[in-house]
Amino acid sequence: MAEPALSGSDAGSAVRLRGVSKTYDSGVTALGPLDLDVRRGEFVSLLGPSGCGKSTALRLIAGLATPSAGTVELTHHGAAGRGSHPIGFVFQEPTLMPWATVRENVRLPLKLARLPATDADARIEAALDQVGLAEFATAYPRELSGGMKMRVSLARALVTDPDILLMDEPFAALDEITRFRLNNDLLSLWRNLHKTVIFVTHSVFESVYLSERVIVMTARPGRIGAEFRITSPEPRGEEFRTSAEYAAFCREVSGALAPSYAGQAGA
């Protein structure tokens, strides 16, 4: 059922990693060497055990860390207007400024780009609308639930209209029902906004549900262990979650993930 994934689409490349590795000062190699191509508009999951370097890969793509070897290439397609930023990043924690309201948190990227407040306001309202939080613009983060904080974090990533959305286990800390809802909302955002999404997770079920392509990574140093193209058609919904097709994909991906964990057992 799973085929070797090839990113031979005409849509063009969004992210291209060649021989990328990351070695820390302590001499520990966390990642790579890694080759990765992500098409424009593709939804790709990086799946692997904790410490396999998948978060490191995301930070390298975002430019938050520099690779010890290899190259990271991003192709920007969007209009590079003021206040636009090619990359949106969503961390595992909501990572909101506790001293600022929801609106001011979402405003942050635009404020740092020195966008005039009048231009920013409309974009902030639009971003909050997209995540369904328009009514909570004046609330403070502590007044929100975990799922709502994550939505704020998502709105902040979307407000610069990025081409590429990098998500680092964003829903890992949420309860299952909230996570399912956010999964669905993220899928519909992805369908409507045509973003490239690279989604890091350690949940097989989440990766299969969301992605067009699942990349299974090996234990440290993280390399690509297997790739699966999840061919199930969009739009996926709750009925997909309980389908035999979904279960079969999950079984296959879990099988590929098992060696990564087996290698860790002795550690």
């Binding site: 938050l64 990359i87 924690e93 400024m97 942050l108 990227p109 740092l112 780009a113 403070y140 502590r142």
Partner: protein
């Protein structure tokens, strides 16, 4: 102050104070203790009223000194912490001396300062020396407690150093800075008092501590108590004002300022 428990928490110390004062008054009367040995609380109160013009003027002098020392400590502590945060070399070079200033008893430094500086300046410098360190160390701690991912986000969006300072580091450090200021408020009062005492009779000042020293020489013990009472009240008011400011600034977002039922 709604639940009975809050009421008890308020009334208990008040009751202790009242009982203490009654006992004190009773002992002074029962044993006929002379005012120059131990004045009764009522006499202290009378003296406070009778000497009010003199004491008020002295209170004003001490409070002004305290305020000047406090402002100097607050500005100096925060600015120094910001400089340390920007340059490790500066921090390594200067921080040990900040510690030395802090651990050397100010009462021992004060006489020296009085030799080299004008009294008014020396008093302010004393207040500054004791008060700036908590601001410095708390601000330093706050500036380095910034959420790592938030810092990453600022980096991702290409924030300038100034933007990172204004929109991230300073707000994140604010609860720590306010904690340092709360300590510094009381300490700058202590610094001012220490310097006034050290200046003693030689001093040209007329602060409350100077009044205490002067009254001591004249065996005007009731006035000593009255001045001491005012000093203590001033310390309480300073702490209360700073705690209130801290609460107002943090109440919407910081754990420390949230009610337990939140």
């Amino acid at each position: 102050m709604k639940s009975p428990r809050d009421l008890v928490r308020f009334l208990l110390p008040v009751a202790v104070l009242a009982a203490g004062l009654v006992l004190w008054e009773a002992i002074v009367r029962a044993y006929g203790i002379q005012p120059y040995v131990l004045p009764s609380p009522l006499l202290v109160l009378k003296t406070l009223v009778a000497d009010w013009p003199v004491l008020l003027q002295s209170l004003g002098v001490t409070l002004l000194t305290t305020l000047e020392g406090f402002v100097a400590a607050a500005v100096g502590g925060v600015v120094l912490a910001l400089l340390f945060n920007q340059s490790k070399w500066l921090e390594y070079s200067l921080f040990p001396y900040a510690v030395v200033l802090q651990v050397t008893p100010v009462i021992a430094i004060a006489p020296l300062l009085l030799i080299y500086l004008q009294q008014q300046t020396a008093v302010i410098v004393c207040a500054w020396i004791v008060a700036f360190f908590p601001v410095l160390s708390n601000t330093t701690l706050g500036l380095s407690s910034v959420d790592r991912n938030l810092a990453g986000l600022f980096q991702l969006y290409g924030a300038s150093k100034l933007q990172t300072l204004l929109f991230l580091k300073l707000p994140a450090a604010l609860p720590y800075i306010l904690g340092g200021l709360r300590i510094a408020g009381g300490l700058s009062l202590i610094g001012a008092v220490v310097a006034e005492i050290a200046a003693g009779s030689a001093g040209a000042g007329s602060g409350l501590a100077f009044r205490i020293a002067e009254s001591g020489y004249r065996l005007n013990i009731p006035r000593m108590f009255a001045a001491l009472l005012l000093l203590s009240l001033a310390g309480i008011v300073i702490y209360g004002v700073l705690a209130l400011v801290s609460h107002l600034l943090l109440r919407r977002w910081h754990e420390s300022a949230l009610g337990k039922d939140n």
